[in-house]
Each structure stands twice: as structure tokens, then as C-alpha cells.
Amino acid sequence: MRFNEKELVSLSRQPSEKAAELGMRGPKKGDVVKKRLVKLVVNFLFYFRIDEEEPIGALLLEQCRVEREDSQTFSIAFLDEAERKYLFECDSEEQCGEWVDAIIKASYEFMRKNLIFYRTEIHRLTGKDPLEQYGISDETRFQDCFTIKMTLFKENQPKTSEHLV
């Protein structure tokens, strides 16, 4: 599958609030812990060999489960394969907790859910749709599931003007 590698590498070089040297272990049997610079940028986790400019790899942090393994270690499991986990060893309990928190909150889906929650609540409290002023009220992205179904239903209705001759 092609992807915009240069652009993604450029993204990995952006400043990030969450970047640290952690011990990282891959999910396969036989993988060992290696010291990596791990960096969280948007909803990607990049990992670099220490002092290298280009990351070795990028993990998309969506549909994954982040868990505390012990006081200083957390894991990320992808693809509903609960046993195949990436492990990350931190220097302290506090650091570990911060990473787990940051990774969960970095997920696009997590942010979307919060947005929908705020939108619904603001509308309930004020009677106004807060997305109206930005002109994005009808973007599918910001709808809850029920509204998406209604949108698709409406869009699939025949356009009356085209049938009148």
C-alpha cells in the first residue's frame, strides 16, 4: 500500500509534548526490549533509534487497547489481538501513567466522541448548536450514529428536479 512517507516523516519531526526514551518490545515471540525514542504526534506513535533522524516506524493509535502492565510498563494491543502487544518500559510510575493517558486521548475516535458529547450538551444547555457558527454542522464527521443514518437516507433520496421533464 502506498503512503505519503516523506510527509509522515516530516510530521514525526514536529515538536511533541510526549517524547521520551523508553524500552520498547515488539509483539512477536522472540522480540526483545530495545531502547527507542518514542514520540507521540497527533494519533501516531513514532519510534526512532536513539539519535537517528528518521523514525523506524509509525503506529496508528486507533482501535487499540492501551493498558498498564505493571507499575512502570504499559502495552498497546492492535487488531483485536489481545495477546500481540507492544510493550513500553518507563522510568517511573508517573511517566507510565502519563503515557497511557496521553495515548488514549490522542485517538481521533476519542476526540470525536468528546466533540459529540460537548455538542449535544451545549445544545441541551443553550438551545444552540455550537458547530453552526463554524459552518460544519452537517459534516458527517461530527454527527452521532443516528444522525449519520438519517443523513445517508436523505442523500439517497432521488433529486426531484432531475426527474421532472
Binding site: E7, L8, S10, Q14, P130, S137, T147
Partner: protein, 260 residues
């Protein structure tokens, strides 16, 4: 650099909603021909394949750090994704008609993680303010509503003539939030001190202030600048598009969320 593709394809096929999909023509880099591809936009990822339902994905474009631009000559319903930085690509697309073009441009403008992050922050603030107003027993009418329209310290000067959208202007996908050109921020003196009281909501998500892995800027400062600079363009484009839609269809332009 290795992009763990299985994670992306798994995300694409999971139950969370697709933000937009459809046919577009994508320009090949080498020989400037266009190829029709089926595009699927989900979160900040634009996937493409030959046909819908194809097992084999041709590729994905990660939509961070790019601007959405319309071409100089508007013959082709085209638009491009311009990645900003030395040596970075520009992806060129053409849609089948004006409606499709505008609809994709709109969707891509609000696709980035950075954009969503700003939006969530802003709504989080509005939510806190709305709750505090409720808490103090004030009714949500008149003065409180006008303060909520412009939640923080945005001053939105009405600028310039309303002309058509200038071609070739960059509409940054990562940070555009639309400005209402007619509303001028009014700071109610009653609300001033409350704006600074950050109260943890008891029954909502945890406050998100200051905890985002942001991509290197101060959102509050950028926010008001970008409102002024880009917001007008987006509103004009949208109004144009809405007008042309309303000419074709009879349905009302109401909000799709009916929370009444």
C-alpha cells in the same frame, strides 16, 4: 520508515463511521493523467482503491500538515492537497461536478487531527461556560447567548468586500475554523471572572485543557488569528455551495441533529 499497514486497514474496516467516500480523479505524479479512484475518508486518513469494496487498497494519504487549495483555473472541479515543507508533495484531484468538489473540499478542510483538537478545546470551553451559567441559575437567553456565540477572546472584525473565493488561496486543513462575519464578540462583564474558573465536570469527560499532544503551537493565539484570516473564505465557499444546492433542491437547510 515502516507504516504498520495492517493497523490502518483494520481501522478502515472497523465499525466507526466513514467520514466521506466516493469517486474522484487523482492525478498521476509522472505523466499528468488522471485516474479514477474510490476514496474513503476516515479521521485524518484518506484511503484510495480502484473500486468500492475492493479488498486491495492502493494507498493512503495521511492528512496532517496539508492545505486544501482550489486550482487557478476552475474548469475541472479540481482541488489539491498541498503539503507544506521542502520537497513535500502536492496531490491533485478532480471531481465529477461542482457539488462533489465542494463537498470534498469541505470534508477535507475539517479532517485533520489538529483541527479536531482545536474544535474540541473550544467546545470544551463553551460547555464549561454553559454549565456554569446553568449552575448559577441564570436563564440561557439574551445576554448569555450572545456571550456564548463568541466564547473566548475572539474579536472578529468584519473585513473586506464579499467577493468570490479567490483561486489558489490556501485553506489550511489543519487549523481553519469558520468565523461568523456578522457577529462581534461581546464580553458580558458578569461572565468575565467565570471564564477563568475551570471546574471538573462530574458527569462528562475529563477536562482536556493542556493535555493534548499538540503539534507545536499555542491554540488560543492561533485560533483568533486564523478566524480572521481563513474563516471568511470558508464561509463564502460554503454560502456559494449552499446557494447552488438550494437552487436544485427543495429541502430545508436545517440542522441534521434534531435535539429538540
Amino acid at each position: 520508515m515502516k507504516l504498520h499497514e495492517k493497523i490502518l486497514t483494520h481501522y478502515l474496516s472497523c465499525t466507526s463511521p466513514v467520514d466521506k467516500e466516493g469517486y474522484l480523479y487523482k492525478k498521476k505524479a509522472r505523466n499528468a493523467t488522471y485516474q479514477r479512484r474510490w476514496f474513503v475518508l476516515k479521521a485524518n486518513l484518506l484511503f484510495y482503491q480502484e473500486r468500492p469494496g475492493d479488498r486491495h487498497l492502493l494507498g493512503v494519504i495521511v492528512l496532517e500538515g496539508c492545505a486544501v487549495r482550489r486550482p487557478e483555473s476552475d474548469g475541472q472541479f479540481g482541488f489539491s492537497l498541498v503539503f507544506e515543507g521542502p520537497g513535500l508533495k502536492t496531490y491533485r484531484f478532480a471531481a465529477g461536478d461542482r457539488h462533489t468538489q465542494e463537498s470534498w473540499v469541505k470534508a477535507l478542510l475539517s479532517a485533520s487531527h489538529c483541527y479536531l483538537s482545536l474544535l474540541v478545546r473550544d467546545l470544551g470551553r463553551q460547555y464549561e461556560e454553559a454549565k456554569q451559567q446553568q449552575g448559577s441559575g441564570e436563564s440561557c437567553h439574551s445576554s448569555s447567548v450572545s456571550a456564548l456565540k463568541s466564547p473566548t477572546s475572539f474579536f472578529l472584525p468584519v473585513q473586506g468586500p464579499t467577493a468570490e473565493v479567490r483561486e489558489g488561496r490556501s485553506l489550511s486543513a489543519s487549523t481553519v475554523l469558520q468565523a461568523p462575519t456578522k457577529v462581534v464578540a461581546r464580553k458580558s462583564p458578569k461572565l468575565w471572572h467565570r471564564r477563568n474558573a475551570h471546574v471538573t465536570p462530574l458527569n462528562g469527560p475529563a477536562p482536556l485543557y493542556g493535555e493534548w499532544p499538540l503539534v507545536g503551537f499555542d491554540p488560543l493565539e492561533e485560533f483568533s488569528k486564523l478566524h480572521d484570516y481563513y474563516g471568511q473564505e470558508v464561509k463564502k465557499a460554503r454560502d456559494e455551495w449552499l446557494r447552488s444546492r438550494q437552487a436544485q433542491e427543495e429541502r430545508s437547510d436545517g440542522d441534521l441533529i434534531n435535539l429538540g
